[in-house]
Symmetry: C2
Subunit: 114 residues, 2 copies
Amino acid sequence: MDCIFCKIIKREIPSKDVYEDDFVKAFYDINPKAPVHVLIVPKKHINPAQGFTQDEVEIIGNLFLAAQKIAEKEGVFQSGFRLITNSGPDSGQEIEHLHFHLLGGKPLGGLVGN
Amino acid sequence: MDCIFCKIIKREIPSKDVYEDDFVKAFYDINPKAPVHVLIVPKKHINPAQGFTQDEVEIIGNLFLAAQKIAEKEGVFQSGFRLITNSGPDSGQEIEHLHFHLLGGKPLGGLVGN
């Protein structure tokens, strides 16, 4: 499978890692949009365009526990953070492997960018 | 509890409803930021600032199944949609009851607004 996130998870491509558990791996975005910009990626290759199974629902739920730990670790749990996932063309999704952006470290403005 | 989302869930405050199941209720945002702007709210009062329990992890996972159904219903599953949740001051979170914004119906621009 030629998926960049699968390659990062298998350590075939390097990443600046932030957190890892049984369900997810998290690493810094190489093109950050805020002082804290972490990508949280399930270890399983989940393509959001194909719909979720019950197994995947469990993974996504646990991803949110991880997100809170990452927010604490990055010092933005109190100051505030945003979690975003994109699906499909209008969203700007670039990689067909489910991932969440954790953003923080400054006021994040409106919900929709320019 | 003086929570506006709890009041909407109990039908004490009206809402333009989109979807409901055992875990969540979804309704249109009264101040939409995109042609499709739905709020997806767990029926249980979950304050993200207090951290999640295992029960809440299950609710959040199931919320993503609901989100996909809502995206289909609103006609944005193929064209693309964004799911956002905010926590804390820098994020612009206004209501202390976990909620997700489902946005779509136009290109959604960058991850961070102005």
